[in-house]
Symmetry: C2
Subunit: 276 residues, 2 copies
């Protein structure tokens, strides 16, 4: 593992690191905010999965998470959204290929060799970070924005027992039924939509459910709200009679101004689960 | 004036606007965060002047100011750091020309025509924003980072009575005596260093002084600290027996991770002056 940068930040350390990933077969870069408490022993960690076109860096510099994570003594991990590099397949569209991994293990050419983002987030990166940093594997929570909200929800439901709480900002809620999803799940997983079900938060909610606290915020003026389909997830959550907080926020759009506005709420929500 | 974007943000509105500036003879772009209180009448405003290479955008998305400004009911204004455009002179170096206006009125070719950033900040932009937005001209404070910290300090001392408080993050404190300053002041103002004195915070502090509260933070591990010369300003402030808070922050560097870490302190500091 190589250190790209380390900056003092809210009493702790904002680092950026690069490592060779077995899952993707590429070098991968991630950001990690460690609160000062990590100097004295393992701290809880919140995974933050980013959206389309983002790298590890966008949320790290724009989401304003460190202020509240420092206050709560929680680490925040910012993985990249796909494998990258000249040897890695890509697509001219912003929403497929590099920057658009969708947190699945691709099975289809040309993606199958490197696009193993589920394994990267679920297996590969955890092994590294719990070995190298003062992070407590028993106290993990997960959140994300847009495509990363989709990832947070599907990973939380697909890995029961792994996370203590899950939240999302403007998640893609029902990708197998929308333009942010059908194209990508088809490309990565093939045309059999039965393969897509475990990567669709609404279907996972119907089929599997969730036994940890859930918080979802979406901007009522989100310019992509028809692609996100918060109503589909809401229906599935309520039909399961699951304790959850699902909110539409008046006037907010899809930007980081929206994410940063509600970041304090989300980190407080996770802190309650991580310290209980 | 043209609206480039408006995003809901911490209950208020983060806008970006473009207007034709008389001072620079160019179009200029600025960011303005308005807290929700601006819907009911004029609110206090904090000017945030940015550093070398920055546009209006960097601090607006990375400094984390809106969270605290919203809490305090204060607007934050993010001007650009220079005129821009194909017709505007530039230099290959990052620290001269576009993105590096140094908050002076250039008198030398080729800069004199457009590089009137002092007038832009002191006269031109105020006329526009107090006319168009619910901002209270009687309650203005100013801050900035690096070159913008230099600008904040020199404007505060050069415009007595204008601002109620001034702060700076890692300001260039003594530009007439360092590599971040001599080159630029020479280029913009000519070789007579007597012309530079009112654009040097340390000299202004010695010659003119300040009668409003002052807060300055610099990272003790700032990679540019020898260029910033906080010791020069500190000597001048203390020699004047001025009430002021000058801090070196252990471990912090020159980045926005440093700025965002201490933003809450700075906005609280200004709020005290703006609401007294």
């Amino acid at each position: 593992m190589e250190t790209i940068s380390e900056n003092a930040c809210f009493g702790g350390l904002q680092g950026v690191y690069r490592h060779a990933s077995k899952a993707t077969g590429t070098d991968m870069t991630f950001g990690l905010f460690l609160p000062v408490e990590a100097q004295d022993g393992p701290v809880p960690v919140l995974w933050y999965l980013s959206g389309l076109t983002c790298t590890h860096e966008n949320a790290m510099v724009k989401a304003g998470a460190q202020a509240w994570a420092a206050e709560q003594g929680i680490a925040v991990l910012f993985p990249d959204t796909s494998p990258r590099g000249a040897d890695v397949p890509d697509d001219d569209a912003y929403d497929l290929g590099q920057g658009a991994g969708f947190y699945v293990n691709a099975t289809q050419a040309p993606w199958a060799q490197h696009f193993k983002m589920w394994d990267y987030i679920a297996e590969d990166l955890p092994v590294l970070v719990f070995d190298r940093f003062a992070l407590d594997p028993q106290r993990q929570s997960i959140t994300g924005h847009s495509m990363g909200g989709h990832g947070a929800l599907t990973l939380a439901m697909g890995l029961p027992g792994r996370f203590r709480s899950v939240s999302a900002f403007a998640p893609i809620c029902h990708p197998s039924n929308g333009d942010w999803g059908r194209k990508q799940l088809g490309a990565y997983l093939g045309p059999d939509s039965a393969e897509w079900a475990k990567h669709d938060a609404t279907l996972m909610m119907r089929n599997v459910g969730l036994d940890i606290p859930l918080l979802v915020d979406t901007g009522a003026s989100d310019q992509f709200i028809d692609l996100l389909q918060p109503e589909a997830l809401a229906q599935a959550v309520m039909a399961r009679r699951l304790p959850a907080t699902l909110r539409l926020q008046k006037g907010y759009d899809h930007s980081y101004f929206f994410v940063s506005t509600f970041m304090e709420d989300h980190i407080s929500f996770h802190a309650e689960a991580l310290y209980s």
